[in-house]
């Protein structure tokens, strides 16, 4: 693979209102001293989709999972994650609250081995919502938001594992949305889906930007350019370039970005 100068980068700060930002974020896995993520400083605009792209192993998941402290158990994370004026990377912060505000959807659909409605209500009940009507209402709203309602409204008591992969993924999105988060993190949510399900998912995500800030990891560049407003390019644990999506795909500033988006990488 061609070696690029990793210190060369181009990172903009979006002029829009910022929902979440990181400052010099470093991630060390295990007890190692080698950073898997170095000095990542990015700001994510509110009610927009931001895409994270980059080759396999470049640190996209590492970065994304650090944002809602999912890496707590396996990694040491330095630097700041600013959310509503608070550094949520502080050990004093209640991580369970953080995760309720910053939801996550994973690469492989991971519905619980429960019914469709229980998949959604389980965490709600754990969070103290017991009113039957409110629970039903949240199930319906979130399934509608995730564009799954019409397909499952008669089977809410059916096992979620009997759904197709694409439906399961949308259920996982509904499950995350039901917690009424502010920000939704998605790690390659469409990688296990066929083109039709993928399109449906993209439409859903665009629709969701009315109320949610979305950060999505994707290997699919068409997808990134179709749905995102901003794109960050990761390489070997560094953020190389961050700008408006159009800019990244048409007139990137850095050679590495250019090579990656044109497919001449490595």
């Amino acid at each position: 693979m061609e070696t690029y100068d990793l210190s060369q980068n181009h990172i903009v700060t979006p002029p829009e209102e910022i929902a979440l930002s990181t400052n010099q974020l470093q991630v060390y896995y295990g007890s190692g001293s080698r950073a898997s993520m170095t000095d990542a400083s990015l700001s994510f605009p509110r009610f927009q989709i931001t895409a994270l792209i980059g080759a396999s192993g470049s640190g996209k998941s590492t970065y994304l999972r650090s944002l809602n402290r999912m890496n707590d158990r396996i990694a040491r994370i330095e630097g700041e994650i600013m959310y509503r004026g608070t550094n949520i990377n502080s050990p004093k912060v209640n991580v369970y609250e953080v995760r309720k505000h910053i939801g996550m959807v994973f690469q492989k659909p991971n519905p619980f081995a429960k019914s469709i409605s229980e998949n959604i209500t389980f965490a709600l009940k754990a969070a103290g919502i017991t009113n039957r009507q409110e629970l039903n209402e949240r199930v319906e709203t979130s399934l509608k938001e995730a564009a799954l309602w019409n397909e499952v409204k008669d089977d809410l008591n059916k096992s979620a594992l009997a759904l197709s992969g694409g439906q399961q993924q949308r259920l996982c999105i509904a499950r995350a949305l039901a917690m009424k988060p502010d920000i939704l993190l998605l790690d390659e949510p469409a990688s296990a889906l066929d083109p039709i399900s993928t399109t449906k998912l993209e439409v859903t995500l665009k629709e969701l930007t009315k109320n949610y800030t979305i950060i999505i990891v994707t290997h699919n560049m068409q997808q990134a350019s179709r749905i995102s407003a901003y794109t960050a390019f990761f390489h070997l644990g560094h953020v190389i370039e961050y700008d408006q999506t159009e800019k990244i795909f048409q007139t990137p500033e850095i050679q590495a970005t250019h090579d990656y988006v044109t497919g001449n990488f490595g």
Binding site: Y96, K114, S159, R175
Partner: protein, 295 residues
């Protein structure tokens, strides 16, 4: 030889080996069940054993075996569940868990006679518990614990990590995720493990001879007071189980029909254990279907 030929020969050898195993099993089971079946009757199952005259049954032994099994599970299941959750969900891979795993390994390979004698010295004599169902249940717990811990840990381990991540990402605590998501998903496997270990406990004799004892006092099945010495529920009474009965009838039995009692009791024992096994399979399948299937 072409790869095709080697493959064919290998397949044939493997099939042959499997056939031998299956034949041995069927021969054993067939022999025990066929020779014992004619002696099983309603009378045999529902009358108490007799020491000298012919015509004794196995009612009390059968009940003792089941009661002992239940007590053993009541003691060992919570311990095993806790340890398995600790090992699979909380403990990492370090010297401490290594030590625990080795301890479990050693425990499961102890000869049952040794465990029986240990139980005799410690519980029966030292703790003055006498020959009792409780002493027997504790001794059996020593066997059951490693089996159960390992099977429960295996079932928990088989639940994919993505389920844990899903729970955590929704703001659930670790414990809530384990209790509400991981344990239910592992339940079919856990139940199967319990039932299979129950089969093993049910057939155990050596560890019980010196702990639960070899005598079967006449039981009063209408006395529901567990503290009364004649009550069938009293855990402090000596209790000869089915497996121990078979052993005893064969070694020192003086009844004229000792051979047929032993054959009948063996068949009953095997049939119950087979039922456990089929039951484990059926329950596991049923629950798996219920969780993944259409309805």
């Amino acid at each position: 030889m072409t790869p095709n030929q080697t493959d064919r020969i290998a397949t044939q050898v493997i099939n042959f080996l499997v056939l031998i195993v299956v034949l041995i099993l069927f021969f054993l089971l067939g022999d025990i069940i066929l020779s014992g079946f004619p002696h099983i009757s309603w009378h045999f199952l529902t009358s108490p054993s007799s020491s000298f005259s012919a015509g004794g049954g196995i009612r009390d032994q059968l009940f003792n075996s089941l009661y002992l099994l239940v007590l053993t599970l009541i003691i060992s299941f919570p311990l095993a569940l806790g340890s398995a959750i600790y090992l699979s969900e909380y403990a990492g891979n370090n010297w401490r868990t290594g030590l625990i795993r080795t301890a479990i390994e050693v425990l499961s390979s102890l000869p049952s006679v040794v465990v029986g004698l240990f139980g005799y010295l410690l519980f029966v004599i030292e703790f003055h518990m006498g020959f009792s169902i409780l002493s027997g249940a504790i001794a059996l717990t020593f066997f059951n614990l490693p089996l159960l811990v390992r099977s429960i840990e295996g079932s928990l381990h088989a639940v994919p990590d993505s389920q844990r991540e899903a729970g955590i990402s929704l703001g659930l605590s670790n414990w809530r995720t384990i209790r509400g998501i991981i344990l239910p998903a592992a339940l079919p496997g856990i139940l199967t493990g319990i039932i299979l270990s129950a089969g093993r406990v049910f057939g155990e004799a050596a560890a019980l001879i010196y702990t639960a004892g070899q005598s079967a006092p006449i039981l009063n099945y209408s006395n529901w007071n567990p503290t009364d010495s004649s009550s069938f529920l009293n855990p402090m009474r000596p209790a000869e189980t089915l497996a121990v009965h078979i052993w005893k009838v064969n070694t020192e039995g003086v009844t004229p029909d000792a051979v047929s009692i032993s054959a009948g009791a063996s068949a009953v024992l095997i049939i119950v254990i087979l039922l456990f096994n089929f039951g484990a399979r059926a329950i596991g399948n049923h629950m798996y279907k219920k969780m993944t299937g259409g309805k």
